[in-house]
C-alpha cells in the first residue's frame, strides 16, 4: 500500500469501525484516533516529501501511482503529490482533528454525525492526492454531499433552507465544472491519439486556444463557486450560519480551499493562455470580493456572518493572487489558503464554543466576555490578530507574499488593482477590532453570562492545535514557502513560455 492511498483508506476504515461500535461514547474516541493517525501520517508524508526533495528528486509529482479503473474513457485512479498538495494535506489533517475535538459533545445521532464528517474528510483528502481529473471530480462531489446532511440535520436556524441553498449552488458550480473538465478531456489530444484525464499529461500539451476560451471560464467559475467568487458567494453566509461548529470549520477551513486549489491546479495550470487573456475579468471580480466582503463584514451582527463575509474577502484574495500568474503571488495564494484555513477554523471553533455557552451569536447581546471566559477570549483575540495580518502569525506571511507578488505584475492596471486589494487590511482591522471590542472587552453587560465555564480540555486541544499551527507558520514561514515555491516551478515555466517578461 502506498502512503498516499492511506489517506483515503484510513478514513474509510475509521468509518467502518464506527459502524460496528456498540457504545456511542466510543464513537468520538475512535474518530479522534483515526484522524490522529491521519495527522501523524500527514507529518510523515511531509517528512518523506522533504527528504525526497533533498535527495535531489526533481519530479513534478512524487509518490505517483496509477491504476486504470474505467478503460473505455481512460479514467485512472492516478495519485501523486507536490509541495502544494502536501501542504494542503497537512492543513486538512490539522483542521479535521481540531474539528473532531470541537464536536466532542454532539449528542444527537452521534454515530451518523461523525461518519458524515469523516466521509467529508475522505473526499477532501482524495481530492488533494488525485492527479486524474475525473477521480478528482469524484472526490470533490464526495466532499460536497455530506455537507448537505451535516447542515440539514445537525444545523441551527433555517437549516433546511441553508443546506439546500448551499448544496444547490455548489452543484451548479459542479455542473459548470463537469462541462469544463469534459471539454479539457476532449481536447487533451489535439494531435490525435488517446484522450486523457491525467493532469500531468495534459499539462505537456497545449489545448487549442479556441477551446481554452470556452472551458477556462467554465472551470474557473465552477471551482470559483466553492472558493466564494463574487457574485457566487451567497451560499457562504447562510451556510456557515446554519452549520454546526465542526462543519463550519471544515467547510471554511478546508472545503473552500478545494475551490482555490482546483482553480489553480486545473484552470490555470492546464489553460494558461486563456487565463492570461481573461484574467482581467476575474481580477476585477476577485478584487471586488476582497473589498466587498470586508465592507460587508463591518455591519454584520451575527458572529458567523462576520466570519463568513471575512472568508469571502480572504478567499477572494486567494483567487486574486492565482490570477496574477507569477510565482510569488501564487505562492502567496497557497500560503493564504493554508493560513485562512487554519485561522477561520479557529474562529468557527471559538464561535461555536462561545455559542455553546451563551446560546446567542448576536454580538449586541454579549459583552465583556474577556472577564468571564478568559481562555477562549484570548484565543479569539489571537485569531482576530491573525486575521488582520499581524506579523508573527500566518496571515501576515500569506498576505505580504501575495501583495509583493501581485505588485510585480508588469501591467499598471494590475498593480493598481493590487493597491485596492491591499487597502482591505484596514477594513479588516475595523471589523475585527469592532467585534473584539463589543464581544470581549468592556464591562460584562449581561448578568446571565457572569458565571460561564471556561474551555474544557477537548476544546483546549482543538484551539491550541490551530493556534500552534498559525503561530508556527507565522514565525518560521521559510520552509513552507520554499516547499511550495519549488513546486510552482513547472507552472511558472509554462507561463513564462507564453509571456516572456
Amino acid at each position: 500500500m502506498d502512503i498516499l492511498s492511506l489517506f483515503v483508506v484510513i478514513p474509510v476504515l475509521t468509518i467502518t469501525a464506527i459502524l460496528f461500535l456498540k457504545d456511542m461514547k466510543q464513537v468520538r474516541v475512535v474518530s479522534a484516533i483515526g484522524m490522529g493517525v491521519q495527522l501523524v501520517l500527514a507529518a510523515v508524508l511531509i517528512y518523506m516529501y522533504l527528504t525526497a526533495r533533498h535527495s535531489g528528486n526533481t519530479d513534478e509529482m512524487l509518490f505517483v501511482k496509477d491504476y486504470i479503473w474505467y478503460k473505455s474513457l481512460n479514467i485512472h485512479y492516478a495519485i501523486g503529490v507536490d509541495g502544494i498538495s502536501v501542504a494542503m494535506i497537512g492543513l486538512t489533517s490539522i483542521v479535521v482533528i481540531a474539528g473532531i475535538f470541537a464536536s466532542w459533545e454532539v449528542e444527537y445521532l452521534r454515530r451518523e454525525f461523525f461518519i458524515s464528517l469523516i466521509l467529508l474528510a475522505t473526499g477532501v483528502f482524495g481530492f488533494f492526492i488525485s492527479i486524474d481529473l475525473f477521480t478528482m471530480f469524484l472526490f470533490y462531489e464526495l466532499a460536497v454531499i455530506p455537507m448537505y446532511l451535516l447542515i440539514g440535520i445537525w444545523g441551527t436556524g433555517p437549516k433546511e433552507y441553508s443546506a439546500m441553498k448551499l448544496t444547490l449552488m455548489l452543484m451548479g458550480g459542479s455542473a459548470l465544472l463537469l462541462l469544463g473538465l469534459l471539454g479539457i478531456y476532449f481536447n487533451s489530444a489535439p494531435g490525435g491519439g488517446q484522450l486523457t484525464f491525467n493532469i500531468l499529461e495534459i499539462s505537456k500539451i497545449t489545448i487549442p486556444i479556441a477551446a481554452q476560451r470556452i472551458f477556462f471560464p467554465l472551470t474557473f467559475v465552477g471551482f470559483g463557486v466553492l472558493g466564494a467568487l463574487f457574485p457566487f458567494h451567497t451560499w457562504s453566509p447562510d451556510g456557515h450560519a446554519s452549520a454546526p461548529t465542526a462543519v463550519s470549520m471544515l467547510h471554511a477551513g478546508v472545503l473552500m480551499k478545494l475551490g482555490g486549489y482546483g482553480a489553480f491546479r486545473v484552470a490555470i495550470f492546464l489553460m494558461p493562455e486563456a487565463a492570461k487573456e481573461l484574467s482581467w475579468i476575474f481580477i476585477i471580480l476577485t478584487a471586488t470580493s476582497v473589498v466587498y466582503g470586508a465592507f460587508g463584514a463591518i455591519v454584520q451582527k451575527d458572529l458567523k456572518y462576520i466570519n463568513a463575509y471575512s472568508s469571502v474577502s480572504h478567499c477572494g484574495l486567494v483567487l486574486f493572487a492565482i490570477l496574477m500568474m507569477n510565482k510569488t503571488a501564487m505562492n502567496g495564494a497557497v500560503l493564504q489558503m493554508i493560513s485562512h484555513g487554519l485561522m477561520t477554523a479557529l474562529f468557527f471553533a471559538l464561535i461555536g464554543m462561545i455559542y455553546g455557552r451563551t446560546h446567542t451569536r448576536l454580538i449586541s447581546e454579549m459583552g465583556g466576555l474577556m472577564k468571564v471566559i478568559p481562555f477562549l477570549s484570548v484565543c479569539y483575540v489571537i485569531a482576530g490578530l491573525a486575521s488582520l495580518g499581524l506579523p508573527g502569525l500566518s496571515g501576515f506571511v500569506a498576505e505580504m507574499t501575495i501583495f509583493v507578488g501581485a505588485f510585480q505584475h508588469p501591467e499598471p492596471f494590475y498593480r493598481g488593482v493590487t493597491i485596492l486589494a491591499v487597502s482591505s487590511i484596514v477594513i479588516t482591522a475595523v471589523y475585527i477590532l469592532r467585534v473584539v471590542a463589543i464581544l470581549l472587552l468592556g464591562p460584562t453587560t449581561n448578568d446571565h453570562f457572569t458565571h460561564l465555564p471556561d474551555a474544557k480540555w477537548y476544546e483546549k486541544i482543538s484551539v491550541v492545535t490551530l493556534i500552534g499551527a498559525v503561530a508556527a507558520i507565522g514565525l518560521a514561514p521559510l520552509w513552507l514557502s520554499n516547499m511550495i515555491g519549488i513546486s510552482l516551478q513547472p507552472i511558472v515555466t509554462k507561463i513564462l513560455a507564453i509571456t516572456p517578461f
Binding site: K165, L168, M169, F230, P231, H233, T234, W235, P237, D238, Y292, F295, G296, I298, V299, Q300, N326, K327, T328, G368, M370, K371, L385, L388, G389, L390, P391, G392, F396, V397, M400, T401, F403, V404, G405, F407, Q408, R415, T418, I419, V422, S423, I425, V426, A429, V430, L433, R434, A437, L440, L441, G442, P443, P477, L478, S481, N482, G485
Partner: protein
C-alpha cells in the same frame, strides 16, 4: 568589526521574557513576574550601553566616519528572485543611539511600574506586554531592511493597542485602543504601498543597498514620473505616511491624546519616548533617499512637522487634563524633529538638521519620559488627571516637584539643560533653510514654555486645594527613576552629537549660534513669565485671556474638531454609506437573484409537472389530440 554578534540577544531576550510571562505569567507570583521582566531589561540595557561604547568609542571608526555594521542577518521569507524579507541587526549611529534611548527609558519605566502598578489586577500581563513592546521596538530600530521595519512597526502597533487597552473593562480605554490601532493601520497602509512601489523599482528591501548613493534607489530617481512627481518621490511620500501615523503628526494625530487612557508608565514609554518617534526614525533611516532623490517628499516632511508642532502647541495651551497636555506637547516636539529632518541636507554641515533631529529625539526621550512619570506620581497621589483638581502640591511631593520643574525648564529650552542645546540646533538648521518655518518654530518655543509652566504652576502652586486624603510622595521605586531621568535631562545636552550621529557618519564642526540661542531663550522666558502671571496665583486673568480669543479658544479647546471629522468619516461614511448599502445589496440583490433563480425553477417545474401527472385519461387525450393534429397536418398542408 564583526564581533557584535551578541547583539542578537538585545531584542531576543525581551521576546523570550514575553513568552515566559505571557504563557506562564498567571502561574508565577505577580511580584516575581515583575522582577523577572525588569531583570531581563536590565541585562539588555547593560548590553546596549556596552554596544554603544564599543561602537562609538571602539576606535575603529575614527578615520572614515561610522560605518553601517550588519551584525546578524538571516532570510526569513523568500518572495521573488531578488526580494526576500530578512531579519537581522544593523548597527549604525542612529540605531545604536536608539538602543540606548529605548533600553534606558524602558528600564526606568519597568522599575517605576513595580511601584505604580502594584496591586493592579493583571500585573504580570502588564509586564508581559511591556516585554513584547520592548522586543518590537528594539527589532524595529535594528532592522536591516525596510520590510523588517514594517514587521516590527506592526508589532509595536499591536503592543501599543494592548497596553492602551490594558484596563479593558473601561469603555473609554477600549475605544482609545481601537482608535489608535485603526488610525495607525490606515497610515501603515500608506507605508506598505510605499514599500511596494519602492521595492518594485529598486528590487531590494535592504537598507544598506537602498541608502547607498551609488545603489539602485538613486539610479531610479530620474525614471518614470506619475502626476508630475517621480516614482521615488511618490514612494517616499507614501512611506512617510506611515511615519505620520505612528508619530501622531497632523492629520493622523487623533489617536495620541486618547491613548492616554493607558496606564501612565505606558504613556511615558510608548507614547512619549520611543514608539511615537518611530516616524522620525523612519525618515532618518531613509534620509539619503529623501534628501538626494526625493526633495519634494522632504519638503512635505518639513511642512507636516512644522504645522503639527504649531497646531499641537496651540491645543496644549487650552487642555486641562495633564496627560493630554503632555500628549500634545509630545506631538509638538516630534513636529520639531520632523521639521529638522525636513530642512536638512545630506553630508557635512549641510546635515545639521539631521543631527539636530536625532539630538532632540534623544533629549526629548529623557525629559518627556520624566514629565510623564512625574505626572504619574502626581496622579498616583491625588487620584485625578485634571489640573483644576490640583494646586499647591509642592509641599506634599517634594521630589516629584523638583524633577518636574527640571523637566519643564528643559523642554522650555533654558540653558544649560539638554533641551536648550538640541532645540537650538533645530532652530539654527531651520534658519539656514527656510525663514517661514524658522518663525513658526520660534512661536512654538514660546508657546511650549507657556503651556508647560501653565501646567507646572497650576499643579504645584496656585490655589491650595483641599484633598480628601493628604497626598504623599510616591515610593522609592517611582522616585528613583524620576531622579535618574532628571540627571539625564540635565547632562545629555553635553553629548557631542555632531561627532557621533550625523547624516553621513562623518563628524562635522558645529557651534552654538548665539544669534539664534539668545532670542530663543528670551522667548521661552517670556512664555514662562506669562504663565507665571496667569497661574502662579489664582486670579481671573486666564478667563479674561480666554475671553479675548473667544472663538479661537473654543476651537483650540475642542481640538479644532478634528475628532468630529473622524467620527463623521467612520460612523457616517464608512458604516452608513458604504458598509450598510453593501450588506443590503448582498442580501437583497445578489442573494435575491440566486433565490429568484431557485424560485423560478420551482415555479416552472410546478407548472410543467402536469405533463407527468400519471392519469391515463390525460395521456390518452394528449395522444389522440396529437395524432389528430398530425393527421390534419399531413393531409392538408404537406401534400
Amino acid at each position: 568589526m564583526t564581533n557584535f554578534g551578541y547583539t542578537i540577544w538585545i531584542p531576543l531576550l525581551p521576546f523570550l521574557m514575553f513568552l515566559l510571562l505571557g504563557l506562564a505569567g498567571n502561574k508565577l507570583k505577580a511580584k516575581l513576574s515583575g522582577l523577572l521582566g525588569t531583570a531581563g531589561l536590565a541585562v539588555i540595557t547593560i548590553l546596549s550601553y556596552f554596544t554603544a561604547y564599543k561602537y562609538f568609542f571602539g576606535g575603529e571608526n575614527a578615520e572614515e566616519g561610522f560605518q553601517k555594521i550588519q551584525a546578524f542577518n538571516t532570510v526569513w521569507l523568500n518572495l521573488t528572485d531578488k526580494l526576500h524579507i530578512d531579519l537581522g541587526i544593523l548597527l549604525d549611529p542612529i540605531s545604536v543611539m536608539m538602543l540606548v534611548v529605548i533600553t534606558t527609558v524602558s528600564l526606568m519605566v519597568h522599575i517605576y511600574s513595580l511601584g505604580y502598578m502594584k496591586g493592579e489586577k493583571g500585573f504580570e500581563r502588564f509586564f508581559a506586554f511591556l516585554s513584547l513592546f520592548s522586543f518590537s521596538m528594539l527589532g524595529l530600530v535594528v532592522a536591516t531592511n525596510i520590510f523588517q521595519m514594517y514587521i516590527f512597526w506592526e508589532l509595536v502597533g499591536v503592543s501599543s493597542f494592548l497596553l492602551i487597552g490594558f484596563y479593558y473593562t473601561k469603555p473609554s480605554a477600549v475605544r482609545a485602543s481601537k482608535k489608535a490601532f485603526i488610525v495607525t493601520r490606515f497610515a501603515d497602509l500608506g507605508f506598505l504601498i510605499g514599500i511596494l512601489i519602492l521595492s518594485f523599482n529598486t528590487k531590494t528591501f535592504d537598507f544598506i543597498t537602498l541608502t547607498d548613493p551609488s545603489g539602485p534607489a538613486f539610479s531610479q530617481s530620474t525614471s518614470a514620473a506619475f502626476m508630475g512627481l517621480s516614482v521615488m518621490t511618490w514612494s517616499m511620500i507614501f512611506i512617510f505616511m506611515g511615519g505620520v501615523g505612528k508619530s501622531a503628526m497632523f492629520p493622523f494625530h487623533v489617536w495620541l491624546p486618547d491613548a492616554m487612557e493607558g496606564p501612565t508608565p505606558v504613556s511615558a514609554l510608548i507614547h512619549a519616548a520611543t514608539m511615537v518617534v518611530a516616524g522620525v526614525y523612519l525618515v532618518a533611516r531613509m534620509f539619503p533617499i529623501f534628501s538626494l532623490t526625493a526633495p519634494v517628499a522632504l519638503h512635505v516632511v518639513a511642512y507636516v512637522g512644522a504645522f503639527s508642532s504649531l497646531f499641537a502647541a496651540i491645543i496644549a495651551c487650552t487642555q486641562t487634563d495633564i496627560k493630554r497636555v503632555l500628549a500634545y506637547s509630545t506631538m509638538s516636539q516630534i513636529g520639531y524633529m520632523m521639521l529638522a529632518l525636513g530642512v536638512s541636507g545630506y553630508g557635512g554641515h549641510e546635515g545639521l538638521g539631521y543631527m539636530a533631529s536625532m539630538f532632540h529625539l534623544f533629549t526629548h526621550a529623557m525629559f518627556k519620559a520624566l514629565l510623564f512619570l512625574g505626572a504619574g506620581a502626581i496622579i498616583h497621589a491625588v487620584h485625578s488627571n485634571d489640573m483644576t483638581d490640583m494646586g499647591g502640591l509642592r509641599k506634599y511631593l517634594p521630589i516629584t516637584h523638583m524633577t518636574f520643574l527640571i523637566a519643564c525648564l528643559t523642554i522650555a529650552g533654558i540653558p544649560p539643560l539638554s533641551g536648550f542645546f538640541s532645540k537650538d540646533e533645530i532652530l539654527a538648521a531651520a534658519l539656514h533653510s527656510n525663514k517661514l518655518l524658522f518663525a513658526v518654530e520660534y512661536l512654538v518655543a514660546g508657546l511650549t514654555a507657556f503651556y508647560m509652566f501653565r501646567l507646572y504652576f497650576s499643579i504645584f502652586w496656585g490655589k491650595d486645594t483641599h484633598y480628601h486624603h493628604t497626598p504623599h510622595e510616591a515610593p522609592f521605586t517611582m522616585t528613583i527613576p524620576l531622579m535618574i531621568l532628571a540627571v539625564g535631562s540635565i547632562v545629555t545636552g553635553f553629548i557631542p552629537f555632531n561627532e557621533l550621529v550625523t547624516s553621513d557618519g562623518k563628524p562635522f564642526e558645529s557651534e552654538l549660534e548665539l544669534m539664534v540661542a539668545i532670542p530663543s531663550v528670551l522667548v521661552a522666558l517670556f512664555g514662562i513669565g506669562f504663565a507665571y502671571l496667569l497661574y502662579f496665583k489664582t486670579n481671573g486673568l486666564p478667563d479674561k485671556v480666554a475671553g479675548f480669543f473667544k472663538y479661537g479658544y473654543k476651537w483650540a479647546y475642542n481640538k479644532f474638531y478634528i475628532d468630529e471629522v473622524y467620527i463623521f468619516v467612520t460612523k457616517q461614511v464608512i458604516f452608513r454609506y458604504i458598509s450598510t448599502p453593501i450588506a443590503w445589496f448582498d442580501r437583497h440583490v445578489v442573494d435575491a437573484t440566486m433565490n429568484l433563480i431557485a424560485s423560478t425553477t420551482q415555479n416552472v417545474s410546478f407548472r410543467i409537472r402536469d405533463f407527468q401527472s400519471g392519469q391515463i385519461q390525460k395521456y390518452a387525450f394528449v395522444f389522440i389530440t396529437g395524432a389528430v393534429m398530425l393527421a390534419i397536418l399531413f393531409i392538408y398542408f404537406l401534400n
